[in-house]
Amino acid sequence: MGGIAGESIRVRGVSAGYGASDIVRALTLEAPCGQITAIAGPNGAGKSTLMKAVAGLLPLRSGKVLLGGRDVSVLDPTQRAAAGLGYVPQEHNVFRNLTVAENLRVGFEFIRRTGRRTEFAAARDRVLTLFPDLASRLRAIAGSLSGGQRQMLAIGCAMMPGPMALLLDEPSAGLSPRSVHDMFEAVRKVNEAGVTVLMIEQNLVEAVRICDTVVLVVGGEARGQWAADAFLGDPQVHALFLGQPGEAGGATVHGGGVCGTSAA
């Protein structure tokens, strides 16, 4: 599928916020090269803020963001995209009044400004192979697609410039269970093609099936990194989720209990 060399995403001591105080506080995590890393945590923990900072939409108040070995902290979102960091926002992630084909084209032509037709065609073919559903709907207006299809399109657009790492902000939000499964499958295929994935997910039951590592973010700080299959079973995770440091929670965590719904 075209040997994309994935790059790691490293976040080092990053602080960011909107107003006077910081929402994300000196946070450090690593999304290793070629892997899928999920960011989990209760609502309000600062996950989305963190992602926006990594994507370049929020200025870093401290710390660095590294893509592979390269410090991208001072680059704006466009420059980061040109450097190989793709981003799929949670909402407003497709242009609803443009067609699928136009969305894909826009995804490519502004980040790869000097890209030639052949490069565009190759990128489009790659994306359409990843998301065959889109191939049959190229002329459809994006707003008329179902939620699942729109999400595929959003990821596809982010993939068009051939990123080495991809940021996904709650890709399963609002999708039906069937679409969630398809969507995660697509993410897995993207990763198999060599792209590093860092995603925020509330639906951890599904997410742990495809990801390698899970980072828990609570209160703007990273509270640990688990291997995916160990994450849901760890009582410490349950405690941290509910904001009770040290308390074991008194029960083993069952899959559907904490994750898959909005956390407590």
């Binding site: 995209a81 407003h92 242009f95 009044n97 826009v106 502004f110």
Partner: protein, 286 residues
């Protein structure tokens, strides 16, 4: 009746050009550009300057005026609208009211309030099956159609057009996808300025050149743009034609001084009944 339809279509095209200009900036910037009337006037006077004073043929003066107003529009955007640092439509509306004061009165300052006309050879009107089409109307229609085709091509087929539509759809996502908002906005103003100038030239050709020609069209142009679906430049074309025809037909029934009243009624009806305009059904809200 058919004559009214014909006249309406021609005047509708002039309105359409200005309505497209309005829709472009409304869509990309969420900006109700009150100064569209003043832009029309300025465009007409630029052409007048080139044509009647410098002696250039109108066919040359008009495109030059379009380029001139395109530049002026970009300068105004940088000098007035950008420093406001807001996307609040009311602040922008007020700023454009200020720009209207300046542009219209600059024209009055230089040229006074007298009625003027372009230096054009007089030609006989065409008559065909009982319908009259005078030379000016023919030119108007041809230029307007050419301009509308050009706009459609730009919007649908070029990268710039996609950028404009993308920003119009979702400014935040456009930024993420690498679209240079500043440059695209500049081009949007340039295009709007060029269209407004053409509209002004054609209006001046069809009638006279005087400082109020733009303001007289203000409500009409807004009505056309809103009818076509705000932010939908292609819809604005249709809106312009419809309004032109409506106004022309209303002149058969109402005294001519109430001509604008027809636009007013259409505007109010559209806003109250179907604010997204006729073509609005396909548009998905941001």
């Amino acid at each position: 009746m058919a004559q009214a339809l014909l006249n309406g279509m021609v005047s509708g095209m002039l309105i359409a050009l200005a309505a497209i200009a309005l829709s472009l900036t409304y869509g990309v910037l969420n900006f109700p550009n009150f100064a569209i009337g003043a832009m029309i006037t300025t465009g007409a006077y630029l052409a007048y300057f080139l044509n009647a004073q410098l002696g250039l043929a109108l066919a040359v003066a008009a495109p030059l005026a379009a380029i001139g107003l395109a530049l002026i529009s970009v300068v105004v955007a940088h000098a007035v609208y950008r420093p406001l640092r807001t996307d609040d439509p009311i602040a922008l509306l007020l700023a454009s009211a200020g720009v209207t004061f300046v542009l219209e009165n600059a024209v009055r300052f230089i040229y006074g309030a007298e009625v003027r006309g372009f230096d054009q050879p007089v030609a006989r009107p065409l008559v065909w099956q009982g319908l009259r089409l005078n030379h000016e109307q023919l030119v108007d229609a041809a230029v307007a159609v050419a301009a509308m085709i050009a706009v459609a091509v730009i919007l649908k087929l070029t990268r710039l057009g996609r950028a404009m539509r993308a920003i119009s759809d979702s400014p935040a996502l456009a930024q993420v996808r690498g679209i240079d908002k500043g440059r695209t906005i500049d081009w949007t103003w340039a295009l709007a300025g060029a269209l407004a100038a053409l509209s002004g030239v054609l209006i001046g050709l069809d009638g006279t050149v005087e400082p109020l020609i733009g303001t007289n069209y203000l409500i009409t142009v807004f009505a056309a743009a809103i009818l076509g679906g705000i932010g939908n430049p292609l819809g604005a074309m249709a809106g312009g034609l419809v309004i032109g025809i409506v106004e022309e037909f209303s002149a058969l029934v109402l005294p001519t001084t109430y001509r604008q009243g027809a636009s007013f009624v259409v505007l109010v009806l559209v806003l109250f009944v179907r604010p997204q305009g006729l073509a609005g059904v396909a548009r998905f809200r941001r």
